[in-house]
Amino acid sequence: MQKYISEQNLNTLIDTLIAAGTRVVAPRMSAGIPLYEPLENSAEMIIDQLPRRSAKEAFFPVCEEIMSYEKEGQQVKINDVDPSRFPETVLVGVRPCDAAAIPVLDAVFSWDYKDEFFLERRRKTTIIGLACTAADDACFCTAVGLSPAETRGSDLFLTPLNGGGYACQSYSEKGEALITTNSNLFSELNNAAPLPLAAPQADKIDLKKVKSWLDGHFEDPLWDGIAVRCVGCGACAFVCPACHCFDIVDEGTEKAGKRRKSWDACGFWKFTHHASGHNPRDLQPKRYRNRIMHKFKYYDDKFGQTLCTGCGRCVRICPVGIDIAAIVEEISNKEIS
């Protein structure tokens, strides 16, 4: 179904949803930076900036309670967290790189054991994607086979039109339903041309070739070369739309507390450190190698997907200028023996 929605009607849609008790998450300014956060009203939404963190946190929050405990003498009482408490949510203005990462994450959270914290939110969320009309030279979605008009992961997809408003295409029943229940806000698409989309910033990389090189180069001087600069923080993983490693910790007192799941990063030395003192990834090059391997080989081996959508956030924020796009390009240019 393809429709037209004006900017004003999009705002009305957001305000109507909020009034009806739906959680609407969209880019908004939060203590000076753009983040995907629940809106209080449509006026808070900003669509001209890529949020500092990706949309994954709408499904996989930075930190969340997975249970709580209370101790009384020798007895312990465990309180479950009921996933059905997660609110119906509409995510608005999601960039193609962020939306495309969500189905990638579905694979890990739904294979074998089902992580209902992720999956229940996923079921209850409608994603409204938004085509990109601007990009910078850190963006490389086109290198990993996506584009500023990529609709993967979106239930509804908005393309800004010349003269204002958006072409709105639905890609799922959820998207369809949102249009149907708010049909007064949508109209037939006229013949207005879409605004020019962001120009591609990077040439398509042959990811199969990258993977075949990685298959044979667990040991390679490349890793030392890159990671000698790496300072071992977790910034790249935390701003990444596809990184999903997490920690589980108990926090509280002797008497009561909560067990929490929170974002973790393979760049930290502590990530794989055994209590015995042994650490299989004891040096930064091994940790950085794992980052690249996980994204472009291991995840592909396991789930047939690439764990990178080219959003460029890690490139922009790396304290020491490590540029994953440049690394993957370098790998793609290597001779495969």
Partner: protein, 310 residues
């Protein structure tokens, strides 16, 4: 901040780049250093990244531009020991970076004779390299550069012979912001920091780039006992940032790397500058100028302020 942004002259950086390259080449040829830590251009337009070179041929890779923001001292401290330590190391330093080296020497983390310091006459660098292709202006310049008192590093082994263009008068953004916060009520101030710390995602970029965060194992990475909650939540975030600020008081010389690298834009150097201001007022001490054996918080003199004893 001035209402209109004015361009800042960075033309000397071209001359400086040429001078660094020829000096680096000379050093390797003469066998005076085994490695040089400097800056090189990277893929993105205008960007620069740290590089460690070990031979004269690579000297051509070295650059200095207003995107050369990193404090390379971090590559010399204990926690990041993957750098060759088999001989004298050359380091490219701006005045602000040098202060960190001076502090590290004072704390016996480095020896002056192990380093060959290539000082940079610096007219300022970018505040953020999220978009490196940004011209240097009174607006885009790093806050630390606005009230810089060390444009020309002293005591280096080599400093390119260039004349610094006359500096523009810029208001000290930190002083303004500290004054603003000091004028708030404690509750308002608390609300401000609470909002800022709420953004923290515990990526520890601030810790990892800090030349002074050289503890072999950070208190926050220890769990016996778990002093600071690890999850990015208000309690653990606040605890971490307070621990950090206190641990750096009297040591931090204001390279502001913590603030630059924070992906969530938490004004971390503001805390550090406030600490520095307190230290200046209480002990007339300013970090980073002399190789002191002990900072004011690690020694006692009878002249020390006792007013906290009530």
């Amino acid at each position: 901040m001035p209402l209109t942004s004015q361009p800042i002259d960075t033309s000397i950086y071209t001359t400086i780049t040429a001078a660094i390259r020829s000096e680096a080449s000379r050093l390797f040829t003469a066998g005076e250093v085994v490695a040089i830590i400097g800056y090189a251009a990277a893929r993105r337009v205008g960007s620069a990244q740290p590089i460690i070179i070990t031979n004269a041929a690579d000297a051509e890779k070295l650059i200095f531009t207003h995107a050369c923001v990193n404090n390379l001292a971090v590559y010399l401290t204990k926690a990041k020991k993957e750098i060759p330590k088999t001989g004298k190391i050359g380091v490219v330093v701006k005045g602000c970076d040098l202060k960190a080296l001076v502090g590290l020497m004072g704390e016996s983390q480095l020896k002056r004779e192990d380093l060959y310091l290539i000082g940079i006459p610096c007219n300022g660098v970018l505040g953020s390299t999220v978009q490196p292709a940004t011209a240097l202006t009174t607006e885009s310049i790093a806050s630390k550069c606005c009230d810089c008192n060390s444009h020309l590093p002293t005591g280096c082994d080599f400093v390119p012979n260039v004349a610094l263009p006359p500096g523009l008068q810029m208001e000290s953004r930190y002083s303004v912001e500290i004054a603003r916060l000091e004028a708030l009520t404690p509750a308002e101030r608390w609300a401000y920091w609470k909002e800022q710390f709420a953004k923290c995602i515990k990526c520890y970029a601030c810790r990892q780039v800090c030349p002074f965060c050289f503890c072999e194992q950070c208190l926050c990475d220890r769990n016996k006992p778990q002093m600071v909650d690890t999850t990015p939540r208000p309690a653990g975030n606040t605890a971490w940032h307070i621990v950090r600020a206190m641990h750096l008081a009297g040591r931090c010389a204001g390279c502001a790397e913590c603030e630059r690298v924070c992906p969530m834009d938490i004004p971390l150097n503001l805390l550090n500058r406030k600490m520095a201001k307190e230290l200046k007022e209480l002990y007339d001490y300013e970090a980073g100028f002399e190789v002191n054996d002990k900072g004011p918080l690690t020694m006692f003199t009878e002249k020390d302020d006792q007013s906290f004893i009530k």
